[in-house]
Symmetry: C2
Subunit: 206 residues, 2 copies
């Protein structure tokens, strides 16, 4: 339980919330998670407010954009993902830990049906879970690179792109394809043989 993540603060301002406001925020979060789970990431905001028994204006006050609401609703699960990934860092080979992380992120990017489309924006939201996930991911990547298991020229942004990309593609095609795509991508990140390497860097740079 990371208690600090649940304190009564408004995302944008960081100010403390009045008791009733905090209550409303929690009700909105619960309602949003339920609604997003049942009907996907493009569920009606009106319905969410109604389920939370709160005026629609209150929803907008707490979460000015749909992405802000999505990020807040995802937050706990992203924190859990970060924690799990950090533990793997100790027990697995660096390259394998990165692949496991990539698979997890792909899964989470489709936590709600249709979430993948905006997952990139959601991750930039700066909520605790987003921050933690980004941090572990970066560590895992650097670790794998120092171990020589992943190309040096891969940036963390590439990994995020790849994850959302696979997730987006996977949501439109049978599940078995996901695993294939992760494996293929990791293979690409791993780097080609000695002969290929020089030609490849030429291909990549300009």
């Amino acid at each position: 339980m990371v208690k600090g993540a649940n304190n009564p603060r408004d995302e944008a301002s960081g100010r403390s919330l009045r008791a009733d406001a905090k209550r409303n925020r929690d009700k909105l979060l619960a309602a949003a998670d339920g609604m997003f789970s049942e009907r996907g990431a493009d569920a009606s905001l009106d319905d969410i407010a109604r389920r939370a028994k709160v005026g629609i204006g209150t929803l907008y006050r707490h979460f000015p954009t749909r992405e802000a609401l999505l990020a807040a609703a995802c937050d706990e699960r992203l924190l859990a993902l970060a924690k799990k990934s950090r533990m793997r860092q100790a027990s697995m080979a660096p390259g394998d830990a990165l692949r496991a992380f990539l698979e997890d992120v792909v899964r989470h990017a489709s936590m709600y049906r249709g979430l993948a489309t905006s997952f990139g924006i959601v991750l930039q939201n700066g909520s605790p879970g987003c921050h933690a996930t980004t941090e572990v991911g970066l560590e895992l990547l650097e670790h794998a690179q120092r171990a020589g298991q992943i190309r040096r020229d891969v940036e963390f942004e590439d990994v995020v792109c790849i994850a959302t990309a696979i997730s987006l593609a996977a949501s439109q095609s049978p599940a078995r394809r996901t695993r294939r795509m992760v494996a293929m991508f990791i293979d690409g990140l791993r780097g080609a043989g000695v002969d290929d390497r020089a030609r490849l860097s030429q291909e990549i740079e300009k």
Copy 2:
């Protein structure tokens, strides 16, 4: 000019169209292409009908879904893509021709802003352009595989997934990343060294 592709037939039924219906269809197509180009793939269908000076019902009669309209609007450009790719088949090494094809498809999947999201569905639409593109792509893949430049276990569906995935990711991030991602993916498809290959097939199957 492939004249056969422009004949006055309704996509679904295949029956010939009355002269005024054919005229309306063409006006809708022109209006749709303009509107999609200006405002993206989620442009208002009402606006398109209005620009075509046609009742909204007429739009629905000709194109029952938004994807059908998108596919029809894309069709000429997809035919051109297929033709260009077929020409490269003669003049380039099989692996390079496939990469060029992949880059083209990625570009076309974002022909209109926001198109990538539904590009998979659009490609399954069966219009002449979609059909031609699928056909060349399949040939290019098999050709590259026979030449030993691409793994045998890659299916054409994978290539489509990859293309839309990259396109989707690219639309949310700087342009220079696209090229990197294509290169990395192709690297993945190419296959790892001899030692890696056995482990990788294990990873992929189940």
